[in-house]
Symmetry: C2
Subunit: 254 residues, 2 copies
């Protein structure tokens, strides 16, 4: 049987990969104590990867713009503390930065800390907090994230942020790319969600940008003039940074 | 863009198809007032289709075995009222029938009424009740269900029962088959979930039985000796009956 091909054991127990297509559809039993890889490829997890690559020291994910502003005040409003994120895909009034990976250059974020809130991504990151190790995955860092997840030698659940609790093609496809990258490291037992994500990735792998452009959320971003973000986010394996979430902070995995 | 190929409008509004991979991941906005097609191909929606094909007059879906027994008592315990369903994929003690489509022959169910409870299927059917039209879909009746759903000229949401709130390959694949059958009727706008389900179906269409056998739930059924049920459920388009759920009862759509 196909499933039997993907077997890896640590301490005699098969290691499983699974994919949850939406945050509200994720199960505690699928997250608690697992390696959880959060995917919000358009654009939060791509953008956070870029920010850390550009020398941003850490990212504090918060759920609402109000919470972001309050936190910055509490932390002294220093110029080394930036506010970033989006609502309706656009920069939040009064914030320093939006949610485009193209904004997060070394000139802007190097040596700074970032408080960030996005519609779907930061909620997914908070939901993943029950994991024993929480990583942020995108296409740009998929091989690096897969290698880090494989090294943990434990079950891995990919948690797609989705779009307002709805299935999003780009996140499911990205989870499939991450599963494929993990299978390059070892053979694993794939739960049904991981198998489906892998097939969706394989169906679109020859034209990932086309899949992003035709996705529901991709079309919204194009309508807002954010087409270049899609070009950026559709790149596979261009960055080596793996963001890890622990104790309320996102930092580079070292 | 790929999405633009699938356009059908009624009264100037594009008609959308979407797929929800699990019951807990389904959104009210995706169900309320829509045509909802519930899919629990292994085995509830297949079995109910077979029961109605065999002349069963109606099926009353209930959530628990206790509720089933109480309802039968309330309805007089007559010999024309059968109890069917499963827990742990096996017949419930004291019930007349389990959840295998092979049990529901005309000799057993013709002219009878059935009270039924299954682990995932009846819960999904109850969840779908917000729909303006609620149909039960399987592979055996996929073309007939797709034709009935298309005739309603409204958005269609496919609600996969899943396995204990977890993504199930066989239901997602079946939803994809139903999407494909609907595209034979008209062009539709496909939401991301429908596009992904379609790709998963296309990846496995040449060996649906193999996909069922290798699925998580399929493997459980095989271990219990229920392999013949998989053979039966993997057939495409062998039955013309469309079960419809309304007012707490499942009947043949006429």
């Amino acid at each position: 049987m196909a499933n039997m091909l993907y077997q890896l054991c640590f301490g005699g127990v098969a290691v499983e990969l699974d994919v949850f297509a939406t945050v509200n559809g994720a199960l505690d039993e699928g997250l608690n104590g697992k390696v959880v890889v959060v995917t919000d490829v358009l654009r939060a997890t791509t953008t956070i990867t870029v920010a850390l690559t550009s020398g941003c020291l850490e990212v504090i994910p918060v759920l609402t713009p109000e919470e972001a502003i309050e936190m910055r005040e509490r932390l002294g409003n220093g110029e080394h503390l930036l506010l970033g994120g989006e609502r309706g895909a656009l920069k939040i009034p009064g914030f320093h930065l939006g949610n485009s990976p193209l904004e997060y250059t070394p000139e802007v974020v190097e040596g700074k800390r970032l408080i960030m809130t996005t519609t779907n991504g930061t909620r997914a990151i908070r939901r993943a907090a029950a994991g024993k190790l929480v990583l942020l995955g995108a296409l740009v860092n998929a091989p690096a994230v897969a290698a880090a997840a494989a090294k943990a030698e434990a079950d891995v659940s990919f948690l797609c942020a989705g779009t307002k609790d709805r299935f999003s093609l780009e996140d499911f496809l990205t989870a499939g790319a991450l599963v494929e990258e993990m299978l390059k490291q070892h053979d694993y037992t794939l739960r049904d969600g991981a198998r489906a994500a892998l097939e969706v990735y394989r169906a679109y792998r020859s034209d990932i940008l086309g899949a992003f452009r035709s996705s529901y959320h991709g079309q919204q971003l194009i309508e807002l003039g954010l087409e270049e973000d899609l070009d950026y986010c559709a790149q596979l394996g261009t960055l080596d940074i793996v963001p890890v979430y622990a104790g309320g902070l996102i930092k580079k995995l070292v």
